[in-house]
């Protein structure tokens, strides 16, 4: 009888603790909402979403000639910077990742695969601040020389570093997707006389496409949320531009850079929480999308 009661208590208790991660997620959302609430109360949301200037400490002269604080919190330059850097990073990362995924899933002998996989895991384990450091001292000078520009810290340098950070995520998920294609398809294709490359390119990759899309989308979510690399390498310019060779300031970098200076509880502080809220919504959206798409794959 004692055992019966212990079991009846155990299950709900475990379930409660398991639910905590959902509670934490909700907690994060609620915290960001309440902390950015005052911002949307004071500052016109329309101006936030359509504004092209981000000058949190701007001072302007009014009609009487007095200087007064007139901060501009326009999301667009920061969002554009985030998207540019992320998309460019994926442009570099996707071919590399797909190539590597095909190599690991179909070409490499098992022994070689057992060596490469841990190496990719090590790459995934390198702290982002070290990647940022490498971007500052190796990639930026290289880009500076290559394009003959005054400063190498810009969107392009950041995306190159980010590409290598996105690589482990996309590669391992894409490899899983390719490996999960049923054996029959592979064998049928080979039996029809297709060689291994034709099997890979016309049968396996198309069959695994939803898994591959989902890998890329998750990679997108990972890169757009990456902070230290863009903070250290992207250059920090807050002007709205579509030129990846100019210094950019993505949303994550803005938060990390300005939170230290913002007055706690002031408009700038709340504006940064509004940025974080946007960031959270974007990454959550992409995560859910990735999961949706992945479901269409083979079991």
């Amino acid at each position: 009888m004692a055992r019966f009661t212990s079991e009846t208590v155990v299950k709900p208790l475990l379930g409660f603790f398991a639910l905590l991660s959902l509670v934490f997620l909700a907690g994060i959302l609620v915290t960001l909402l309440t902390e950015s609430g005052p911002f949307f109360g004071e500052y016109d949301p329309l101006e936030f979403f359509t504004g092209t200037q981000w000058y949190p400490t701007l001072q302007t002269q009014n009609a009487a000639g007095e200087w007064a604080s007139d901060p501009r919190f326009g999301l667009l330059p920061l969002l554009a910077a985030s998207l540019q850097v992320t998309v460019l990073a994926l442009v570099f990362a996707i071919p590399l990742s797909l190539g590597a995924a095909v190599f690991m899933a179909e070409i490499a002998p098992p022994a070689l695969r057992e060596i490469i996989k841990p190496l990719i895991e090590l790459l995934a384990g390198i702290p982002s601040v070290v990647f940022g450091f490498i971007g500052m001292v190796l990639v930026a000078p290289f880009i500076k020389e290559l394009f003959d520009i005054p400063i190498g810290l810009n969107g392009l340098s950041a995306s190159i570093v980010l590409a290598f950070m996105a690589f482990p995520t996309i590669t391992s998920l894409a490899e899983d997707a390719i490996s999960a294609v049923p054996r029959d398809l592979r064998e049928a294709s080979l039996a029809m006389g297709a060689n291994r490359w034709e099997t890979v390119s016309r049968v396996l990759v198309p069959s695994a496409r939803s898994g591959i899309y989902s890998a890329v989308i998750l990679g997108f979510g990972r890169v757009i949320g990456e902070t230290m690399t863009v903070l250290m390498v992207a250059g920090g310019g807050a002007a709205l531009t579509l030129d990846p060779l100019s210094p950019l300031r993505p949303m994550t970098a803005t938060i990390a850079l300005e939170m230290g200076e913002a007055v706690q509880g002031g408009p700038h502080y709340h504006a940064l929480f509004a940025l974080a809220l946007m960031l959270l919504l974007i990454t959550l959206g992409f995560n859910l999308l990735a999961e949706r798409i992945k479901k269409r794959d083979f079991k």
Binding site: E7, A18, S97, G125, S128, V130, I134, T252, M259, N287
Partner: protein, 284 residues
């Protein structure tokens, strides 16, 4: 016929090249940091406090801070993660609740690290009034690695064959007894692998501790849960972007980066080693 064969060779070599590029990059990053940082490493660097505005002395407080923060994060995340994974694998049936938990775990793992930092700042530092300290930083990092631990534990539990559980249940043990006495002991080495990986991740993160725990310089070593700390990743960032002696500080930053990189590689290497060994020893 010949063209087809050539095409196959071409594309296969290209995909091999992708791996070579990335592994080469990995080698370059590690090699570069070792080459530039090795000169800074000596016993004084590892064991002393910084001196003379960060241009001399060591980084011991940062090493200690990183160890404390990562261990604190695990102390918080491990019990929660373990329990959540046990529920998901051993207790729940496929259903709504389980699907919601799964969405929660996956979404939590996709939340950007800087968002965790802001959450920690708003909740632990300001609302609960901890101030920036080890406790606030550990809790923030712990939240961030929680999904990693849940997933690793789930995988570990799932890999234990059903027959283990059935044998135990058939002997009259309850589900809880079966889990604690049979399933967990069999899965422990694999769970350990996941925990070690989580430690490595927590040790290397900068953004979550920027506003919740880390400072550029402390006069003394931390004295309790409510002390501010120095931490290796933040120290690298601060050496490169703050202070007044860029040249000397960059040299210190290379040394610090080498220490952090070695720490993280060692931890990850240990996890990979454990996993390979566990797989070889597996008897089922």
């Amino acid at each position: 016929m010949k063209a087809r064969g050539l095409r196959e060779i071409f594309w296969f070599s290209l995909s091999g090249l992708c791996v070579v590029i990335v592994v080469g990059m990995l080698g370059l990053v590690i090699g570069f940091i070792i080459a530039k940082g090795a000169g800074a490493i000596n016993w004084e660097f590892l064991s002393e406090m910084p001196r003379n505005a960060m241009t001399e002395g060591g980084i011991w407080p940062a090493i200690l801070g990183t160890l404390l923060l990562s261990l604190g994060a695990i102390a918080f995340a491990l019990p929660l993660g373990l329990v959540a994974a046990i529920y998901l694998v051993e207790y729940s049936r496929d259903g709504k609740l389980r699907r919601w938990i799964r969405i929660g775990v996956n979404s939590l793992s996709g939340v950007p690290s800087v968002v965790f930092g802001l959450f920690g700042l708003a909740l632990f530092v300001n609302f609960l009034g901890f101030g920036a300290c080890i406790l606030a930083g550990s809790l923030t990092l712990g939240l961030m690695v929680l999904p990693t631990i849940i997933r690793a534990t789930e995988e570990a539990l799932k890999s234990i064959p059903m027959s283990f559980r059935e044998a135990s249940l058939a002997l009259g043990a309850t589900r809880w007894h079966t889990t604690v006495r049979v399933v967990l002991p069999a899965a422990v080495s694999q769970i350990l692998t996941g925990v070690i990986l989580a430690v490595g991740r927590a040790a290397g993160e900068t953004a979550p501790i920027m506003f919740t725990a880390a400072v550029f310089f402390t006069k003394r070593l931390p004295s309790g849960l409510f002390s501010k700390v120095m931490a290796l990743p933040y120290h690298i960032y601060a050496l490169l972007t703050e202070g007044t002696h860029p040249a000397e500080q960059t040299a210190m930053a290379y040394g610090t980066a080498l220490v952090l990189l070695m720490l993280v590689l060692l931890v990850n290497g240990a996890a990979i080693f454990f996993r390979i060994r566990a797989r070889k020893r597996k008897k089922w």
